[in-house]
């Protein structure tokens, strides 16, 4: 095995550790929690409406919200490192970021005008 592959050993260890950790936590919970079966506890949303029949597992509208969220999430990922280095990037960086933000905002404006954000 080459040095190159050996360096991936750490990744494998990490994966194993992650799986082990999750297994450990869930197993521990199972062991120590009390189990009193009630019918109410076996429906998907104890507090919400029953997701069967005409209602889907989740409203399709959530999908659009999630997309919009992801857009701004990604924006944030870009903006943080940019902000740290704004000084060295200068005006050029400012203009670039402005364009980026404007384009993303445009997407929001479009979604808004299409009526995506209206609840009902």
């Amino acid at each position: 095995m080459t040095e190159f592959y050996r360096s991936y050993l750490a990744v494998a260890v990490l994966i194993l550790a992650a799986i082990g950790m999750v297994g450990f936590m869930l197993g521990l919970g199972r062991l120590i929690r009390p189990v009193r079966a009630q019918e109410q506890k076996y429906i998907p949303y104890e507090a919400g409406s029953d997701p069967t029949g005409t209602f889907g597992q989740s409203n399709v509208r959530y999908y659009v919200f999630a997309l919009l969220f992801v857009i701004f999430d990604v924006e944030a990922v870009f903006i943080f490192p940019w902000a740290v280095n704004l000084e060295s990037l200068g005006w050029f960086g400012l203009v670039e970021m402005t364009i980026f933000v404007v384009v993303l905002t445009l997407g929001l404006v479009y979604a808004w005008r299409k009526g995506v954000l209206r609840w009902a």
Partner: protein
Amino acid sequence: MIAAAPIATPAVDLWAIAPIIALVATGVGLVLIRALLRRNQAVTPVCFSVAVVGLLVAAGLLARQWHRVRDDGPIVSLADMVRVDPFAVFLGIVIVAATLAGLLLAYAYLRREDLEAPEYFALLLLSAAGMLMMTTANDLVVVFVALEVLSIPLYVLVAFDRRRLRSQEAGLKYFVLGAFSSAVFLYGIALVYGATGTTSLSGIATFLAGNTLFEQTTLLVGLGLLLVGLGFKVAAVPFHMWTPDVYQGAPTPVTAFMAAATKAAAFAAVLRIVLTAFPQYRDDWRPILWVLAALSMLVGAVAALVQNDVKRTLAYSSIAHAGYILMGVYAASSRGREAALLYLLVYAFMAIGAFAVVMIAAPGPDDAKHSYDDYRGLAVRRPVLGGLLIFFVLAQAGVPLTSGFVGKLELFGSVAQAGETSDYVLLVIGVLSAVIAFAFYLRIAWTLVTAPDDDTAVAAAYSTRPRRVDGWTGIVLAGAAALTLVVGVLPGTFIHFARDAVFF
């Protein structure tokens, strides 16, 4: 407070990416216009005009670039990630022309099918921008970004006819399989990066030229995965299976656009990656391309024989054509590159022309009836339209005096030039495929000229009022036919054009 380490910003030559900027700006602008003029009746014509103007600006910029890069050498910019050379500009011109066709064809189509036009225009332009980026990409990461930028709008465009189940299904299939292939491609990039320490195509070439790898497996697996990812986009067998369903299901203007432009962009990446980055490994990737080309030519032609749907037949034919073009890549010579470029150009117009006729000729309201029975006797009922379809399919078959003949001749010639046994075997397979393909092209032509024999089944075809050809579609048809004919009769100029464009 951490002291910010200064970041070296790369020099940006805006001139190099000006066509891409033009397309993106137009696409984004269309979204804005759509948002502002939401309920206004004029929104479609306004957006259409803006889109056409944007495309023409991009075309003009490309034309300027063509002269500059041909005479003064390529423009390399953005930290060596973008490389504008004659090759890129040539394919850029093909892509922009195909986009224009996709746009013009859609104008009447979208109204007829009652679909949202501005969104269509915006998505089309954004996809085209991704394709232009693909042609100029000199870095695997840029190739990947371009791949995504061109694909994501395409997924939506394929499913654009929301009310038609076939279209939805096609969009979903394309999306799922496309995501799958993108992942494979990305994995390939990672492995190549792991092996060479760079994602720049010229950087990889330099590295491989200067160093002998102690262990090649990582690199070769990476290369193999890159080819798989791109093989999916060019619809090479065995990564072709989405093609018939998607081409058939997608709105016909989108199909035309995909057949012409997506193919050009994907082949740009194939050619650039294997020839720029991996020339040392040509003995390793050429057999893969040999098999892909041979399988594509055979499976595409053979499967097309038994189809009952004209649009689907044309989809299979596009698989076979991908195989022909792969022969040019396989040749791995400047002659082969020239032939592949020329073929991409001529195929774009043959495909657009054929699909444009299909778009008009299908009876019924919702772009769904494309069976041979629906087309029976078209050339008798509507001589011009039917005649054009016959012309385009004969061109695809490679009948002399059409561009298809010239293109095939060049491709076969480029393979024959190498002159090894395996080359000749591929050549024989290619000719065999062309012969088989003749059968189904002639079947289409025959269907068009024969009168229907079963009255009841086809009475509908006669009873429905023939759809008239709108002006924009007329322009596309005339342009495609003219080019197909001119290249066939006077190939000289275009061969020189392609010959000038082989330089990376």
